[in-house]
Each structure stands twice: as C-alpha cells, then as structure tokens.
Symmetry: C2
C-alpha cells in the first residue's frame, strides 16, 4: 500500500470541513515529552487561547483527547451521578445524543421536544425545569441535523434559579456564531475542532465554571497506582469513566500535573493553532465572517429556486438546510457533485433524511470562492437532474449579499 493520498475535495457539508492548512502543518511539528517544559507551556498557552474563544474567565478550560462526542460524555459523566435528573430539550438528532449519553451515565433523563426546524422559547424550558427539578440542564447550541441554533442567553439564569447547572454542546456553533460562556451563565460547554474552528476531529475543547468544578471535584478519586495518602476519598459516587474523568483531567492540566492519559500531542498542537488563528482574527470578526458567508449561501440557494427548511430566524450562521425539490433524487445529486466537482454537501438524519440537503459554510471554508463555486456547481447538477433553475441565479444572489456587506 502507498502513502495516504486523498482526492481533492471541497467539503461544504455540515462538517467536518477542510481544515485550515496552517492547522495541518502544526500537526507535523515534532513531539516532545509529556512533562517537557515546552509541553506544559503549550498546554498552558492552549488554555489561555481557548478562554478567549469561549469568552470566559474559567480557569478550567482545557482539551479532552477525543472527538466532540468524547467531550460531551466527559462533561455529562463527570457532572451527573447515577439517578441525578437531567433535562434535555431536544430539537434535533444531537439532543437525542445528549439524552442517550446521560442515560448511559446512569442519570434519570427527562426530555422535552419541539418540531425539527424550530427552537424552544425559554419559557418552555423554564416550565420543564420547574417540573423536573434537574441537577443539570443539557442542551445543544446548534443542532446541525436541523440547522437551528437554540437561543441560550436566558438559560443560565433559568438553570441557576432552580439549582441546576447548564451544560451546552457547542460543537457545531463555536467560532462561527456568538458564544458567551460567562455572560450566559454556562457551567460546562464542549466542542470539537471540525466545524467552525478550522481543525480536524479528534480534540474536544471544554470549559467549566467554578460551580461545575466544585461539583466534579467532590467526586475526585485518584486512581490506584498513583494515589497517595493525601488524596481524599470522593464524597459523591466516583466518576464512572476513567478516561473521561474531568476531575483527573483537570489535575493533569493543572499545577499538580498528575499523570493521566498520554496527551495526544499532535492534536494539542492542532487545537492550539485553531484557537491561535481565531484569536488573531478576533472572535467578533470570525463570527461576522460566518454570518456573511452564511447569508450569501442562504441567498444563493434561494436564488437557485430552492426552498429553505426550518425557522430561518434561528438558523446557525454556518449551515443551511434546503428542501430537495420534488422529483429530484437527492443522493444522486450529492454523488454527482462529488464525482464531477469534488464538492461534498450533506443529507440529514431521521425525518430529514432524503428530504433536505445541508450545505455548510464554516471554518476554513467560510470563504467567498467556496460559496460561489458550490452554487455554480449545484446549479449545473440541478439542471442535469431536471430541475428548472435560472442560469446564474445562485451566484448572482450571493454576489449581491457580498456587495451589500462591503459597499
């Protein structure tokens, strides 16, 4: 077999998308030892940079060595003791995932649901909190399955007034949509690098409020083999996972540097570089860039004569769901886009599989050339599939948005 040699692709689906080439190059840097001063300095720098990305003063802002899903599970298994109640407002596939992970952690899971393509009014969530009295409210910020972004600004207050902690899965939104951890009262939030953050999947940024840290620390249990007489027994039930035990992971990232996993150095380099590039750009500039290219793509697909799915007022900046026109084979068009143009767009899950395409504009691919190329190619494939669309309608509509944006 030969060296890995991927075909040329432009990844315009709901993520993962093309990583920023600077992030890929950072991963090629040589390794250092786990307790090398350069290693611990790099971890500390990553914490500083990610605090800016998360817009937080949280000391405990670190990385879990796994994909975004590992970050979700680390937060939930560390916060939730068996039989704790967790409330999950579900508005798409990834809300179901939070419920699933909560159940596997042994928690008593309560869900409320709203139709795919809509979000919750904060009052609906407050009513459910009052009824369920959960230990944790766990909510997805942007659910790529529907492209909706749940407004979060009031949820921290709601949770705290009822003695609950607020956990947010920001995998699909962070870096491309405003996210204000402290201002919104978010107690725990997690992400992955492969959406708006410009990196590959495999490292999960996490931030924890002081209140979340107190909850997790109560359950701290130093593992056999490195425990000393000074290590107290846990007060709560021990965290069910060793690998995803945030109490131990905090001690590995903290001044004690207590041996836990062997840090995935190349992914640490990648995560540091993702944050470094975003901080250099400025978070408001980065989310503004996603808003602009998202608006251009939205206008573009409408210019092609396609109908947009869901409550567009609550759409994430970085992905749009378009209804597959009647009589058009959605998977055939996606396959032709990939074969003819090397462009990937997505389908969706469950009730939306085969009903919508999801087109992303995020991370390194939140770019004018990527938006216009995708619209031009999609126009050709739609016409070949028998859908009547005005020549140049998509590109023209997107260009109009760009002209408005920079007069």
């Amino acid at each position: 077999m030969r060296q890995v040699h991927p075909p040329a692709r432009l990844l315009m689906g709901p993520g993962p998308v093309d990583a920023d080439p600077r992030v890929l190059r950072a991963m090629a840097a040589p390794l250092v030892g786990q307790f090398d001063p350069f290693m611990t300095d790099t971890m500390t720098e990553a914490m500083v940079l990610w605090r800016t990305v998360w817009d937080t003063a949280n000391e405990q802002t670190l990385l879990v060595d796994g994909t975004s899903r590992a970050g979700i599970e680390a937060a939930l298994v560390s916060l939730l003791e068996p039989d704790d109640r967790v409330l999950v407002p579900v508005f798409g596939r990834f809300g179901h995932l939070l419920a699933e992970i909560g159940a596997r952690a042994g928690a008593e899971v309560h869900t409320i649901e709203t139709a795919w393509g809509t979000v919750f009014d904060p009052g609906q969530i407050e009513d459910a909190v009052r009824r369920v009295r959960p230990r944790v409210v766990a909510v997805v910020h942007g659910d790529t399955s529907t492209t909706m972004a749940q407004p979060l600004a009031e949820l921290g207050r709601i949770a705290h007034e009822h003695d609950a902690l607020l956990y947010v899965d920001a995998t699909a939104t962070l870096g491309g949509n405003p996210f204000h951890t402290d201002e919104w009262g978010v107690d725990a939030a997690t992400a992955g690098l492969q959406k708006c953050l410009g990196g590959p999947s495999g490292s999960a940024p996490v931030t924890l409020s002081p209140a979340a840290v107190v909850t997790i620390e109560r359950r701290r249990h130093v593992e056999a083999g490195i425990r000393t007489a000074d290590d107290a027994e846990p007060h709560g039930s021990p965290i069910r996972s060793n690998y995803l035990d945030l109490a131990q992971i905090m001690e590995y990232w903290g001044p004690r540097r207590l041996n836990h996993h062997t840090e995935a150095t190349s992914m640490l380099y990648a995560a540091r570089e993702c944050a470094r590039l975003l901080v250099a750009e400025g978070m408001a500039t980065a989310t503004g860039r996603h808003a602009r290219h998202g608006a251009a793509m939205l206008a573009g697909v409408r210019g092609l004569g396609l109908e947009v799915f869901g409550d567009v007022a609550h759409k994430m900046h970085n992905v749009v769901a378009v209804r597959i026109p009647d009589g058009v084979d959605g998977d055939a068009v996606r396959g032709a886009l990939l074969d003819d143009f090397g462009i990937e767009i997505g389908t969706s899950f469950g009730p939306l599989h085969g009903v919508v395409w999801r087109i992303g504009t995020m991370g390194f691919n939140a770019r004018r050339d990527a938006v216009l190329t995708t619209l031009a190619a999609l126009e050709h494939e739609l016409r070949r599939a028998g859908f009547a669309t005005e020549p140049g309608g998509g590109v023209t509509a997107a260009l109009a948005v760009y002209e408005e944006a920079s007069p």
Copy 2:
C-alpha cells in the same frame, strides 16, 4: 502567540518517543468527508494493515479515537457487565490502571500481585483463575513502570479452559516485541501509537476475537436518534459508555457504516501510516530491530557501570530501567541531559520514583545513532554528577553488540 515551534529533542524515555517523520507528514494530508469513498476505503485499509501488526485474522480490528487509555477502557467497559468478575495480575503501575478501569466499569475486581521487577509464572495465574472464576482475565503485556514483559503464550488457554476471555494491554510492546494475537488466544487487545509503533498518542488500535465480538454484540444498543425498528434491544446490560461502546464502533467501521463519532481523520491517517511502515518493514524485522537496539542499550548502560533493575530475562526489548547510583540526584541528571543535549530519559512511578531511570529504544528511535548519542551524553552527565565511569565505556559496549549482530 506564535506558531507551535518545539525545541529539538531526542526522546529516549519510556514513551512517547519521536514520531516517524513520515507519520507526521501523513497527518498533514487534507481531510475528506466521513462517508467519502476515500474515507471508508482508508478505514478498510487500516483494518487490513493492523491485522498484520496484531498477527490476527480478526475481522474486528479497528481504531478507537483516543489515547491508549481510551482503548483499554473501550475494551473493558464493552466486555465487562456490572458485577462481572475480572482478574488482573498486577506487576506494575499499569496493572493497577486495568484494575481501576475495571472497577469504574462496575466489575468485581480481583488482583494478584508480584514484586515490581518480576513477572508471573503462568501457574500462578491459573491458580487465581481457578479460585476467582473471572469473566475476563485482564493483563498488561509490557508494563513500562518496571520494564517487565509478562509471558502470554499460555494465558489464552488458561482463560478459555475456565470460560474466561483474555484481554491484553499491548500499548508498550506492540511492534517492538513479538505479539501473536491468534496463536496466543488473545480475545481483546489494545495499544497506542506512541511507543514502538512510531506515531503520536491519540489513536488506539484494537483487535477483538470472534468470542469477544459475541460478548459485546449481545449488549449492542443503537443510540436514540438513529435507532430504527430493526434494531433489537440489548440482551445484556447496555454498555455504560457511548463514546467507548465497541458495539457501536464496530458498526461504524463495518458495512452498515452507522454514524457514531466523527472519525478523527488525521489520527486515522497517522495510524494507517504507522501500520503501513511496520508491514513494509516486516513484523519480525521490526521486533528484531527493537531487540538489537535494546540489547545495545542494555550493554551500554552496564558498560557505564550502572546496575540494571529487575529480571532482565523478562525485560521488554524497548526499555531498560537502571538504578540511579548512590549519591547521584536522578532528577538533576535527567534535567541536565535535557538542557545540555536535548535528550529525554524517564523516571518511574510509585516505589521506583527516584530509584531508577527508564531509557527507551523504540519506534523511530530504535536506531544506532540514537543509542550511541544517548550513551555518550549520559556518560558526561554521570561524570559531572560525581559518578566514576570509564571513558567511552557505554558506547564501546553498545558498539560490541552491534558488531556481534552484524558480523
């Protein structure tokens, strides 16, 4: 902040060690979509290559997206139901880790221990199996904390005769010491890339025997959000982790390609390249290379007048523990080696912390120049620390081993 720019290092500790530059370059390849034909082909190629590394015909030979510790937990949490008995023969720090992870999975953990620096006679393990009647025997192959390698050849037979499965943590040995999954009757084995395999930490190769697959499949539980009417409820208790649920991970790597985590593409490229390079070299050649450079380092440290720790007859090829001479400050010598020469060697854990140095010769650093440079530098630092050592004694002794090996 600037781009990541690590200092020049030669990592001659117990791992992680320098990654092969070809593996680092593979990680810089562009990403593709999760269900791109190139992606699924790459996953399938990785399975084929890793079967050769593991010396197995096991269909279920795949990667877990996390460090070696994630692989251990995936195996144990997927194999062990709460209250199942697991027997862990402990001969160092990482045996304690298996016990810890087993306990967090809810299992009833039984351990037997032998002094650090020794291994078990298979009869001792058989006696314990007869007494405990475990569901799983979980053992470390090579425990870097002591440098010992437990002989495994009889353990599969012992486990199977008593209706147990055999799990082996091969993190520190695979690729540098013979490992024969099928011949030895190993039911589940896991590793990480950062020791003899030439890569960075962050991807965990796993192989599962048909018997292990049956045990895990019984507990298969497709998660909410993607479950269909055809998916049966689990027969055993559902696996407690979602992220490390090998039943779901097998379906993601198998023909159904059921959405689970977002595969860490760059780490997949790295893991494929690690295996590709080993298979191209030949597994017997690779383990022979580790044996040769390990023997040279062993002779070299003795040539410096240092005493070797533990039962050398059972030493792993890829690491040696040497007693820190009386009156020498071990951490000061390690620090000076790093500052003056950019060379890292390790200390150890628990009873061996400050008692031994651990010097590795593994992966990309199982090389003659790395061995000789380390011995020359160590000689200087020993002399500066006041330890009388014969000029050139280490390098000369190592060279003699190389001359014998290639007459």
